[in-house]
């Protein structure tokens, strides 16, 4: 008997056996299902209640010390002009989010954004055709067991790392600016220092790193020596305004900075836009001396 005939006859026998000697779905299986469904609804209501009663109407209730158990009700209203944000997805995307820390822009980031997710998806769809034996006992499916353990460990690890990924707090980053100016040698250029403050406050370090400060998310490169690449102030300015024109479709556009005037530490208007100051700062960043 060929393999396919054997499977067919096995399934036929299963159908007959279950019909003869199985138990009816109602009430036996349905009882279990109902209990489980009530548990699910109970857990959801419980989570919603804890979330609501440990948070406040104000979006920054969970900011500082009195952080909420399950997070705030909402963050500040969306503002395309303010980039002080942490681009953090919902927890079930953390594994993809963290994967992008492993691959660096621009060479291999596509492996993280497209390559690995696509391969995982193809394997998931093709599983019944990759594993065609009829054996179902775990003790006789070593490959499946090892694969399952590896998937659970790696997804769990990536999700955990994504959850605890270091976030660059604006206050800490701003405090590091004088040190940057010292080490990269632009302390005497008020425009570059103003640009460094825009960089620190604007949330650039949510993704980028600068002399060890910052998130390193989404494959964003370190910018401590960006000025030594010879792009020039003009080049850097137009890059930051619209990175997609230079083939970078991951980085958001920050053209909004062009309409905000840059100020120095004393609040004096420097006569240039924040975008320009940012470009001057990046151009002055020739790497630590």
């Amino acid at each position: 008997m060929s393999a396919i005939d054997e499977r067919r006859s096995q399934f036929k026998k299963y159908k007959e056996d279950v019909k003869d000697r199985g138990k009816p779905f109602y009430p036996y299986a349905m009882f279990h299902d109902t209990v489980m469904s009530l548990v699910v609804v109970g857990v959801i209501v419980g989570l919603a209640s804890v979330w609501f009663y440990t948070s406040g109407e104000n979006p920054d209730t969970c900011g500082g010390k009195d952080s909420c158990l399950l997070g705030p009700r909402y963050s500040e209203p969306a503002d395309p002009g303010t980039t002080n944000f942490v681009p953090r997805p919902d927890w079930y995307f953390y594994f993809l989010f963290y994967l992008l820390r492993i691959f660096k822009w621009p060479d291999s980031v596509i492996l993280g954004t497209v390559g690995i997710p696509t391969i995982l998806l193809i394997i998931a769809f093709a599983l019944p055709f990759l594993d065609i034996r009829s054996e179902r006992r775990l003790s006789r499916r070593p490959v499946a067991v090892v694969a399952a353990i590896l998937v659970v460990i790696s997804m769990g690890e990536l999700t955990y790392k994504g959850a605890v990924a270091k976030e660059a707090l604006a206050s800490e980053v701003v405090a590091a600016v004088p040190q940057w100016a010292q080490r990269d040698g632009f302390a005497n250029d008020p425009k570059a220092v103003a640009g460094a403050n825009v960089f620190a406050e604007g949330g650039c370090t949510s993704c980028h790193t600068y002399l060890g400060t910052g998130g390193g998310n989404l494959g964003a490169p370190d910018l401590s020596a960006e000025g030594s690449k010879g792009k020039g102030v003009q080049g850097l300015e137009s890059y930051v305004a619209d990175p997609s024109k230079f083939g970078n479709t991951v980085m958001p556009k920050f053209g909004a900075f062009a309409s905000i005037p840059a100020k120095d530490a004393q609040g004096k208007d420097l006569g240039i836009s924040q975008l320009r100051a940012l470009a001057i700062f990046l151009d002055a960043s020739k790497g630590p001396k």
């Binding site: 299963y14 279950v18 000697r21 138990k23 009816p24 969306a78 954004t113 179902r136």
Partner: protein, 274 residues
């Protein structure tokens, strides 16, 4: 006299039963739905199917919670950049039990995704994706993808900083797909920048397109479950779940039964269903 009274009572009872049954019979004659429901409820499952087998229906419950709370949220939510955030605040802080509905929707999403993964793990470990249930596995993976897409599109709707910037980056990441990337990003944004069109588009995808697809796929998923039957756990000695039958037989104090006898034994215990 007594006999005729009993007959009369019986006749009244018969008329009553006929009156009660009439709508059911009417529906059955025209649709066959009653027979379908009866088939669904009283179909046999393996005797040793257990708590692990409830993960699928638990996932369905979580989805129905999302559908119900989603419909209520849609009555108050205003998908415009200028009003979306305020309407979310209004739902959470002012509307009666609005916090519960939004909280259930927000946390139900996570529970739904977790249960999808647990259900998938159960099917994998039980080897329940094997012949002839391959197609149902594929439908299940599609449902997982749809569920994640719901998470992505729903995340933007509160229109707060977290959701806005996560979506900016999320759309940009879609843009890195070779060749198609820029078109996907353009489609998701509904233009060059994220704005009113993006929000309306995400809202439409989130509450019409994908839920419709999920309902249809769940229908297909359940149809295949009923058609192919529930697989017994891999440790079962036989497909029908020998343990349960043996247990029933032992309670009856009988042993060494052949199949038909075992069959009649469960009928005596819980067989009123058939």
């Amino acid at each position: 006299m007594a006999v005729s009274a009993r007959t009369r009572k019986s006749a009244r009872r018969q008329r009553l039963e006929a009156a009660i049954n009439y709508p059911i019979d009417w529906l059955e004659e025209r649709s066959g739905l009653v027979g379908g429901l009866r088939y669904f409820l009283f179909r046999k499952v393996p005797g040793d199917s257990n708590w692990f087998h409830t993960l699928g229906s638990a996932t369905l419950t979580a989805f129905l919670v999302q559908a119900t709370t989603g419909v209520i949220l849609a009555m108050y939510y205003k998908p415009e950049p200028k009003t979306a955030y305020a309407s979310i605040q209004h739902i959470t802080n002012d509307v009666t039990l609005g916090w519960l509905v939004r909280g259930m929707h927000k946390w139900g999403a996570s529970v739904f995704i977790i249960l999808l993964f647990f259900h998938m793990a159960r099917v994998f470990l039980f080897g329940a994706y094997k012949y002839p249930r391959e197609l149902n596995w594929i439908v299940g993976v599609l449902l997982l993808v749809m569920g994640m897409a719901e998470g992505f599109t729903g995340y933007l709707l509160p229109w707060d900083q977290t959701s806005y910037w996560a979506t900016v980056v999320g759309i940009n990441l879609n843009g890195t797909v070779p060749f198609l990337g820029p078109y996907i990003a353009q489609f998701l944004r509904g233009g060059a920048e994220i704005g009113p069109d993006t929000l309306a588009r995400f809202y439409s995808i989130h509450m019409l397109l994908i839920p419709g697809a999920i309902f249809a796929l769940i229908g297909l998923h359940l149809y295949l479950v009923v058609r192919l039957g529930v697989s017994s756990p891999p440790w079962s000695k036989e497909a029908a779940g020998a343990d349960w039958v043996e247990e029933q037989v032992t309670t009856n104090g009988r042993s060494g039964l052949t199949q038909p006898a075992a069959r009649s034994s469960w009928r005596r215990n819980g067989g009123d269903a058939e």
